[in-house]
């Protein structure tokens, strides 16, 4: 399965060699240092990591990393082969183009006065974001969805003044019975 999505992008004449976003799922043994080993392979080929989310899986000894990257497909293919060689790596899968569920969570703390609060609440309702903290001067929203949805709410909230924000990075699972 690994690398099938890369083959697809190679076949498309216009997309060949053009940088494109890839979502890579990496199952790893839960050992210290593995994050550095995985990230190091991307760093060495100067491959840009958009986001990297790590967490434990249904097996306590195994973690899953979801890595969203952008770069030339032939370099990514090389990196995936190198990832497969790491002793602590259980499985690597490029799930780009698969039928997947993709989610990201963001916390956004913005300036909010009694005058702007209702407006922000309206935006928040449209995006099914929830208000998780409220003070005289600030409001903190929690929003979940695909990364582009978070980008969209961000662009609407910008004018109120975003004081701080944090995103988890994308997490992904393949739909249905097929494993990720």
């Amino acid at each position: 399965m690994t690398g099938s999505a890369i083959e697809l992008s190679r076949d498309a004449p216009s997309a060949a060699r053009a940088p494109m976003k890839h979502t890579i799922s990496v199952l790893v043994e839960n050992t210290p240092g593995i994050l550095m080993k995985v990230a190091g392979l991307f760093r060495r080929r100067a491959y840009n990591i958009h986001s990297l989310a790590v967490g434990v899986t249904e097996q306590p000894s195994v973690s899953r990393m979801i890595i969203v990257v952008e770069g030339a497909p032939e370099i990514l293919e090389q990196i995936i082969k190198q990832l497969n060689k790491l002793i602590e790596v259980v499985k690597v899968n490029d799930v780009t183009g698969f039928n997947t569920v993709d989610r990201e969570l963001a916390l956004i703390k913005l300036n909010a006065t009694p005058a702007t609060r209702m407006e922000i609440m309206e935006i928040s309702n449209v995006f099914r974001a929830s208000v998780v903290d409220l003070t005289e001067k600030t409001m903190t929203l929690e929003v979940t969805g695909r990364s582009d949805k978070i980008d969209a709410i961000m662009s609407l909230l910008h004018k109120y003044g975003i004081r701080e924000m944090v995103r988890t990075g994308q997490v992904t699972l393949v739909r249905g019975t097929q494993p990720t």
Binding site: G33, M36, E77, K81, K85, L86, I87, V90
Partner: protein, 580 residues
């Protein structure tokens, strides 16, 4: 999760479960892994490990004078024996001194295990005395590394290290052992066999379909060439390669690391290819229509500018490491597997292609562009010195080189005929490699004639271990080609930097006196008529190292040469001065 299982080299001397310290458990593991030699240097954090070594009767420890030597010696030992080499150092500076040798092993796929002491677990990360983040430092330069976090896991981590270092594409594995874990006394359980997740050791047997495709391609070839590298040596595939080439009459060029994989004395041999390879090897590979690449990685020193390399060829690429296939050049027939298995299968299916015109063309290139130099007057040409050593040793020595001009001349003029008789630092090109690797080779093969061909620059990076070689009575021959400069750098400055000789000339010691001071035999050679008697004398020394320092022409350049990043079209075949 399927797992692959490998039995151990030796059954343990202890019961499967035994109460002992971490240090003692390490020694037990080394014994079970079949280790008989460790190259190392003790220090604070390694004290408990060394205390356990004090009682180890079945393992000898070679005390080096600098840890870099331990790592290079482990590589030398590995290359000549095929067994995993072992080096050991303390935490911090001991471990950082290993780094060059570990990187060399990584680049040239040498199976070694490096064991490092570490500060106690509670002190890790506090900038404790002699603490270095060895795991962080060695992550990108090892095939695998691991720190023992709990005493109970020590046997598994250590034994797994040996399995990983020696299997598939070999490479360096580092095991970091904190001081408190080495001291802790606990009940250790020693596994009877070691397991690894399946897929981590690539399958040795290649796909029959791919072999058939390769055979079909070779059968129709008009201008075939075999391009053989270090993987042939590693997989002990020299007999299979030689059988295939001789039966099909396909010419063979070997890389710097592949020397010895096919006899260079055979008429089918094209010698080495690449930047300083023979002109005919480079003409042949670039005119080939089918290239059987086996155990190679299309290194830039071989290919030059990739887009201009062998543009008319279709490639069959055999490698045990799938990540090498297609990395630099796309393979038309990729074959993942052991070189020995693949060549054997290929030999059974490949009829000799009909390519007489090709053989005539190659013969013509060989006649027109031989490797040559001109020895005139009293000044010794470095190539002449190497040819003399070749002649006087009957071409039967284990040859170890350092890095630079002399390395390339040695590759050209000391013809290799047997696998595991040519040791050099290829990928990393680490000056200082030669003498320590020769030391390790002589320890691994005590009865063999081991000759190091060194430059004056590289020898001075690690020569302090003459003390070690004398202490062990190693009858090493160290031929130092002394041109009073960093010759390869000087050559590049001459050719590409308008003769602006920036910091390349060396004020050297009297090497013979230096050797004598260490208790070795030392001979200085300045005139051409002194050379043969000196080499003969060195071959008679049997109980200690002999250093023969040979003053050679400081202006000699290494040719042929394909300048960096260029192609065969830009090859400089030989020095203008050589022609009449």
């Amino acid at each position: 999760m399927a797992r692959q299982t490998t039995p151990l080299a030796r059954a343990g001397s202890a019961a499967t479960t035994k109460r002992m310290t971490g240090g003692q458990a390490l020694i037990e593991c080394l014994y079970r892994a079949g280790v008989d030699t460790i190259f190392g240097h003790p220090g604070g954090a390694a004290l408990p490990l060394y205390d356990s070594l004090y009682d180890a009767r079945a393992i000898r420890h070679v005390l080096v004078r600098h840890e870099q030597v331990a790592a290079h010696a482990a590589v030398g030992y590995h290359r000549v024996t095929g067994k995993v080499g072992v080096c050991m150092a303390t935490s911090g500076p001991g471990a950082t001194n290993l780094v060059t040798g570990i990187t060399d092993a990584m680049m040239d796929s040498a199976g070694i295990v490096a064991i490092t002491g570490q500060v106690s677990t509670h002190a890790i990360g506090t900038d404790a005395f002699q603490e270095a983040d060895v795991m962080g430092i060695t992550t990108p330069i090892t095939k695998h590394n691991g720190q023992v976090q709990r005493a109970a896991e020590l046997p598994r981590v250590v034994l797994q290290a040996f399995l990983i270092a020696g299997s598939g594409r070999p490479g360096p594995v580092l095991v970091d052992i904190p001081r408190d874990i080495a001291t802790a006394e606990t009940e250790f359980e020693f596994p009877e066999q070691i397991t690894l997740r399946s897929g981590k050791i690539p399958p040795a047997v290649p796909s029959p379909n791919q072999i058939a495709a390769a055979a079909a391609l070779l059968r129709q070839a008009a201008r075939p060439v075999i391009y053989a590298g270090g993987g042939v040596i590693t997989s002990n595939a020299a007999p299979e390669l030689t059988a295939l080439a001789r039966r099909t009459r396909i010419p063979v060029t070997t890389t710097l690391m592949g020397k010895g994989g096919f006899p260079e004395t055979d008429p089918l041999s094209l010698g080495m290819l690449g930047m300083h390879g023979t002109a005919y090897a480079n003409y042949a590979i670039n005119a080939a229509d089918v290239i059987l690449a086996v155990g190679v990685r299309f290194d830039d020193r071989v290919t030059g500018r990739l887009s201009d390399f062998a543009t008319g060829a279709r490639f069959i690429h055999i490698d045990i490491d799938p990540a090498e296939i297609g990395k630099n050049k796309p393979a038309h027939v990729p074959i993942v597997g052991d070189a020995k298995e693949a060549l054997r299968a290929l030999d059974a299916q490949t009829p000799p292609p009909d390519c007489e015109p090709w053989h005539r063309q190659i013969a013509e290139w060989k006649a027109r562009y031989p490797l040559r130099y001109r020895q005139t007057g009293d000044t010794i040409k470095p190539q002449f010195a190497i040819e003399q050593v070749y002649r006087l040793t009957d071409g039967r020595a284990i040859v170890v080189t350092d890095v630079g001009q002399h390395q390339m001349w040695a590759a050209q003029f000391y013809l290799s005929t047997e696998p595991r008789t040519w040791l050099t630092s290829g990928g990393l090109g680490a000056m200082g490699f030669g003498f320590p690797a020769a030391l390790g080779a002589q320890i691994g093969r005590p009865d063999a004639l081991v000759c190091a061909l060194l430059g004056d620059g590289g020898f001075q990076m690690t020569l302090q271990d003459l003390g070690t070689a004398v202490e062990w009575g190693l009858p090493l021959k160290l031929y130092v080609l002394d041109n009073g400069s960093l010759g390869m750098v000087r050559q590049w400055q001459q050719l590409f930097y308008r003769e602006r000789y920036s910091h390349v000339f060396l004020k050297n010691p009297d090497f013979a006196k230096l050797a004598e001071a260490y208790g070795a035999v030392g001979i200085n050679v300045r005139r051409v008529d002194e050379l043969e008697p000196a080499v003969r004398r060195s071959l008679e020394v049997t109980d200690r190292p002999c250093v023969v320092a040979i003053t050679v022409d400081p202006e000699e350049n290494c040719y042929p040469m394909i300048p960096s990043g260029q192609s065969v079209k830009e090859m400089i075949v030989e020095d203008d001065r050589i022609r009449d």
